[in-house]
Symmetry: C2
Amino acid sequence: MSPKSVHAPAAMSVAVSAVIFAMRPDEGGRMHLWLPLVRRTREPFGGRWALPGGWVGADESLSDAAGRTLHETTALRPRYLEQLYTFGRPDRSPPGCDDGRVVSVVYTALVRGDEAEQAEEGENVRWFRTDALPDLAFDHSEIVEYALWRLRNKIEYAHVAFFFLGERFSLRQLREVYEVILERTLDPANFRRRVEATGTIVPTTERLTGGRHRPPRLYRTEFTLDLRATGPSA
Amino acid sequence: MSPKSVHAPAAMSVAVSAVIFAMRPDEGGRMHLWLPLVRRTREPFGGRWALPGGWVGADESLSDAAGRTLHETTALRPRYLEQLYTFGRPDRSPPGCDDGRVVSVVYTALVRGDEAEQAEEGENVRWFRTDALPDLAFDHSEIVEYALWRLRNKIEYAHVAFFFLGERFSLRQLREVYEVILERTLDPANFRRRVEATGTIVPTTERLTGGRHRPPRLYRTEFTLDLRATGPSA
DNA sequence: TAAATAGTGTCTTTAAGACACTATGGA
DNA sequence: TCCATAGTGTCTTAAAGACACTATTTA
């Protein structure tokens, strides 16, 4: 038997959240993926960590709302912001929750490591390594898992790695982004050939000095994300 | 200057729509991609064709709502239903529209050709070839374009072609699905090798008789879509 | 036996991976 | 001069494509 048809919209709130990824070294200098979480100050899940987010304004697009709310909590302004998935199970919030039913449109954002440094951190905002996350509020653990899965797939066929890096980068830095996300090492020689063949990077005359070894050439990319390629401009 | 922060949810309605694809021959026997549209009986866009859809019930998941509303209008029960994208620009509905602001979670569904035959058709529900669509209501033309783009990409790496076919199928039928979606011909020999190598199809002892030529072997697949691979169970 | 499609074999091209080797700046 | 990493060359393997060829059923 089918459920009854619905002739009028039900009462529902629309929220946005963001999974914000950054590539940063740990204390030992090893690179990892990190994301910022905010501590909930209210029930439900008071005290638990959650993805940054908030309500969508009446005259605001979903992506604008995602950009605004993540800026309000983390002070970040990512260059990359893409819709990930919309979560709307009726039981997402525990029973007796004030907010009623909430549909969350979740975005993935990518920021550079140096941007992440500048991001405000405090008692209620903190960066976590993706391989050492606490149990999150709501279904946010599941959401992060899915965002990681999508990022790993996406990096294989889309030019998203550049969003983790600055204007100029060495091939080692680029390779490190791939290695951390794919969780395996890549042959430097083969990686170089592959990425050079795609034609998405351009060598500059600059070199990266400071290491105690031969300084690598720096590259740049004119590549700017075509949003039509990843999702409509919505 | 940033927009003001939003401390309470705004009034918004959540709707679902479905882009339902089927593979069917035209009068001349040539295969094409088709989708069912419904004629709007109310303003805005009264008389224009639109994607089937409706409101999300208060205690209904988004995918359940998508399945229910598309069944109500087309009588179809697709085996494949996947979230495509969520559209929420504030100006999606023309000004002065009764429904207020609407956020639409759009799903893609795949059905077999013989199922499509059974689907009710009438004055207000009709199948259209994807290469000969009228101007649709709202932003639905843009949505269909994006769904087509995603389908073309998806068929390259995911096992979605089987959802267009019945329990048993010849390699030619499978190849035809690929050819129609990718809009190019594929070498039969190389296609056979490629699809056999993936191990997703199993030969049966049956053959497809009736043609005036050597009858092809029929294959089947135990493959059932793992929804975790395409999107979380939401 | 002719038409038509099923199905096989094989050569070429291209991309990916393994890995040895040379190059060069800094301590 | 040695160390560490940058960067090159080359061989092997696997996959994709082109295309000739054989096989089998129905009209």
